[in-house]
């Protein structure tokens, strides 16, 4: 039966190819966009899981706008430090600043941290690539983008002197690559130097705390919230701070990302609908042209059910071929994007080719296109033998 269906398709070559191309375009668009979205989701998850799940983050304000207008204080840090169940509590104060090296000037994120900080402990997920941590206030550690030569024409080396807001700092350490451009182009200096630079003493934009027992994570989140609420004199639900675990942070990040992802996939998905309309059209024409044939087949004993199956398979084959080529093309497109992203903003992007997904998309395309052939196939079964043979 399948052999018969294949023969029918090659019979009208141009038409079949055009229909398959339609499906190929649709499927490859969806496959490449999906793989891209999936790769981005995974790289985000990877970066967060490298941070560690035993961390609690405290941010100022309760919304994005709140974060922009508000800061945390030394007293808040002390409140956190006094809580049982937390191993380490550290504060970060970061702002945008202009850094200057020779004739290059860039606006980057500058973070003030305690001198003997451990990058891993601060939730960066990566450690020091070369050099050492800070010992003095006039020293700086720089991110990957700065020493790799991506941001400045010439890469920075250990011992080089940069200016941050016109003040001199010596580079003593290079950070490993985190994988996204923003985090990789930051500069870290001591808290004291940062306070001096901004003229705002004892201020923080982030606390990172590590819990002693990982299973007490949620308990500690509640404890921190309660202590800070008491300190600030605010009620539950009206907090002027945000306490989040690594997972919370990741989820709120992925939430926005997923909305964009599904919106884009939805728009691309419309093309499959259009492809199916094309298949339906071709099937109607094909059945009209083969009325006689159908009549003869029926007269020599082919049942209505067999006719239905035959045409469903025929229309499904468009989807199968289109799906196979489209999935291949889409994967290639996604891989191509991965290669071009390596040097760009998403260095951490990896396209994962899941064979199950490829099979699923090919199977799905077969299914959807045979569904598109359902109405024409039903029409084919209703053809009366006597009438069909008479027809020329």
């Amino acid at each position: 039966m399948i052999g018969l269906a294949i023969k029918e398709i090659t019979h009208r070559k141009v038409r079949s190819w055009m229909t398959v191309i339609g499906i190929v375009i649709g499927v490859s668009a969806i496959v490449s966009l999906f793989l891209l979205g999936d790769g981005l989701t995974r790289s985000i998850q990877e970066q967060f899981s490298a941070v560690g799940t035993d961390k609690i983050f405290v941010l100022p304000g309760s919304s994005f706008l709140g974060m922009f207008f508000h800061e945390l204080t030394q007293e808040d840090l002390e409140t956190l430090s006094s809580l049982d169940g937390l191993k380490k509590v550290s504060g970060v104060y970061s702002k945008q600043a202009t850094i200057e090296w020779h004739d290059n000037k860039e606006q980057v994120h500058v973070s003030g941290l305690k001198k003997k900080f451990n990058a891993l402990e601060f939730g960066y997920g990566v450690g020091l690539h070369k050099g050492r941590y800070l010992k003095e206030d006039k020293e700086a550690i720089i991110g990957y983008e700065l020493w790799s030569g991506n941001l400045f024409q010439a890469p920075l080396k250990l011992g080089d002197e940069i200016k941050i807001n016109q003040k001199k700092f010596k580079v003593v350490g290079l950070m490993d690559r985190i994988g996204n451009k923003q985090d990789d182009s930051q500069v870290m200096i001591s808290l004291e130097a940062m306070w001096e630079l901004t003229g705002r003493k004892d201020r923080y934009t982030l606390f990172v705390a590590q819990v002693k027992k990982p299973d007490e994570l949620n308990l500690m989140v509640d404890k921190i919230k309660k202590a800070l609420r008491k300190k600030h004199g605010v009620k539950e639900g009206e907090e002027d701070f945000t306490v989040q675990t690594t997972e919370d942070l990741m989820e709120s990040f992925l939430k926005v990302f997923n909305i964009v992802k599904y919106f884009v996939l939805g728009i691309a998905g419309i093309s499959i609908l259009v492809g199916c309309i094309g298949i339906m059209n071709v099937m109607y024409s094909s059945i009209l042209e083969r009325r006689r044939e159908i009549g003869i087949m029926r007269s020599i004993g082919c049942t209505r059910k067999k006719i239905l199956t035959l045409f469903l398979i025929e229309s499904g084959l468009f989807g199968l071929f289109g799906g196979i080529i489209g999935a291949g093309l889409g994967t290639a497109l996604a891989k191509l994007f991965e290669l071009s992203a390596k040097t760009g903003a998403f260095g951490a992007l990896k396209i994962y080719i899941n064979p199950l997904f490829i099979l699923f998309s090919i199977g799905g395309s077969f299914l959807v296109s045979s569904l598109a052939g359902l109405l024409p196939a039903i029409k084919a079964t209703k053809i009366e033998i006597s009438e069909a043979i008479r027809w020329e």
């Binding site: 055009m18 375009i25 100022p60 259009v274 059209n281 071709v282």
Partner: protein, 396 residues
């Protein structure tokens, strides 16, 4: 020419189902593309009109490389009194004033919330400027007076946050100090300006120690060229400040940047939606080949009685062009409906009123795209039909 149209039209109506399905295929793509374009244009227009309402005679100065208030808030640098004086003295500047802001706990009506509090200049000159800024316009109560003490003006969103209990005459406790509400701001649509409480700059300074301004606002003298005034401000500041430690922005630059960003998003979305149109082209090509194939005999006869290759070519090209055109007309109609529904949803959820733009440019663009899609898809089938040899065709 009239006959060509009739011939093409008749062949379309002969296979109604096929024509309808082909049109439907193109239609779907056109609906997507047209509603995305019209909504995108609507967004850009909403931004533009918001800026026009406020006026383009504003010049804003931010520290570092900050291009807007948000970036200025995250900057490690600030602007000084000296910068403000320099800006005030620049030719073409009518008034200028520095603002400061910080999130503060505000207590009122039994609730304590974190609200961005702004310190604004309330001397004679500062007041003159504030009164000209429409996002600070008062809906209820009054604007500050120079001699006011411990007073506050509240943004419309802040009133909502406090369950609509804040009103003129109420007392707010900000960082333990009492402030009397004298005015409530009109809703401007800008989340930053609707979500603030403003107090006098001197009183702000007594609540918190913040050196320098994160932003200086200024208005130019009416009738002057704003961008050349901005250039003068920049040159003057360069003399007293390090290069790149400040950024002079005109309201027009701000508006242009937002419009450009919206434009980029729109281009990406339209490009993805265009995939559907590509797919529908393959559908149309298929239909046209079928149409040619079915009428081989007809073509042969027409040629035998004197139809030229050109005639045959035009008949088929017109046929596919008409398919495209019909799809375009219906696509625009349905797209218009669709875009309006989406706009209603956006306005409802985002509190940002958008009206999709369907001007002659958008309409013509839609018809043009669909006609080209139709003609383009019909090109090869029509060429194929025109080159058929009548003898061979008749024999089949």
């Amino acid at each position: 020419m009239k006959e060509y149209f009739l011939l093409s039209f008749r062949s379309l109506t002969r296979r109604k189902q096929r024509t309808a399905l082909t049109i439907l295929g193109i239609l779907v793509g056109i609906i997507m593309v047209m509603s995305l374009i019209s909504l995108g244009k609507g967004m850009q227009r909403a931004v533009k009109s918001a800026f026009e309402q406020i006026g383009y005679n504003r010049i804003l100065v931010f520290p570092g490389r900050s291009k807007n208030l948000l970036e200025a808030g995250f900057s490690s640098q600030t602007l000084t009194e000296k910068d403000l004086e320099t800006i005030k003295k620049t030719n073409g500047i009518k008034v200028a004033g520095g603002v400061k802001f910080e999130g503060m706990l505000v207590k009122c009506c039994g609730r304590t919330l974190l609200v961005p509090v702004w310190g604004v200049p309330v001397d004679k000159e500062g007041l003159a400027m504030i009164k000209k800024l429409s996002f600070f316009a008062i809906a209820k109560g009054r604007e500050f007076k120079v001699r006011d003490k411990n007073v506050a003006v509240v943004g419309s969103k802040v009133v909502e946050q406090f369950d609509d209990k804040i009103d003129v005459g109420k007392t707010l406790i900000i960082k333990g100090k009492k402030f009397k509400v004298v005015g409530i701001q009109k809703r401007s649509g800008s989340p930053i300006h609707d979500g603030l409480i403003r107090i006098k700059l001197e009183e702000f300074d007594s609540l918190t120690k913040r050196k320098g301004f994160p932003a200086i606002l200024s208005l130019t003298v009416e009738g002057t060229d704003v961008s050349s005034v901005a250039e003068r401000v920049k040159r003057r500041l360069e003399k007293i400040r390090e290069e790149d430690s400040f950024n002079v922005q005109t309201a027009e630059q701000l508006a242009k940047r937002i419009e450009k960003m919206l434009g980029i998003i729109q281009v990406v979305l339209v490009a993805i939606a265009f995939i559907s149109i590509l797919v529908s082209i393959t559908g149309t090509v298929t239909t046209m080949y079928t149409s040619v194939y079915e009428r081989l005999r007809e073509i042969g006869i027409m040629k035998a009685i004197g139809a030229t290759n050109r005639t045959i070519f035009f008949i088929f090209l017109l046929e596919s062009g008409m398919i495209g055109l019909f799809a375009g007309i219906f696509g625009l109609l349905i797209g218009w409906l669709f875009a309006n529904i989406v706009a209603k949803i956006i306005s409802y959820y985002l509190m940002f009123s958008v009206a999709p733009v369907f001007n002659y440019y958008v309409v013509l663009l839609g018809l043009f795209i669909s006609f080209i899609v139709g003609c383009g898809a019909g090109l090869f089938p029509a060429l194929y039909a025109s080159k058929l040899s009548p003898v061979e065709v008749m024999r089949k």
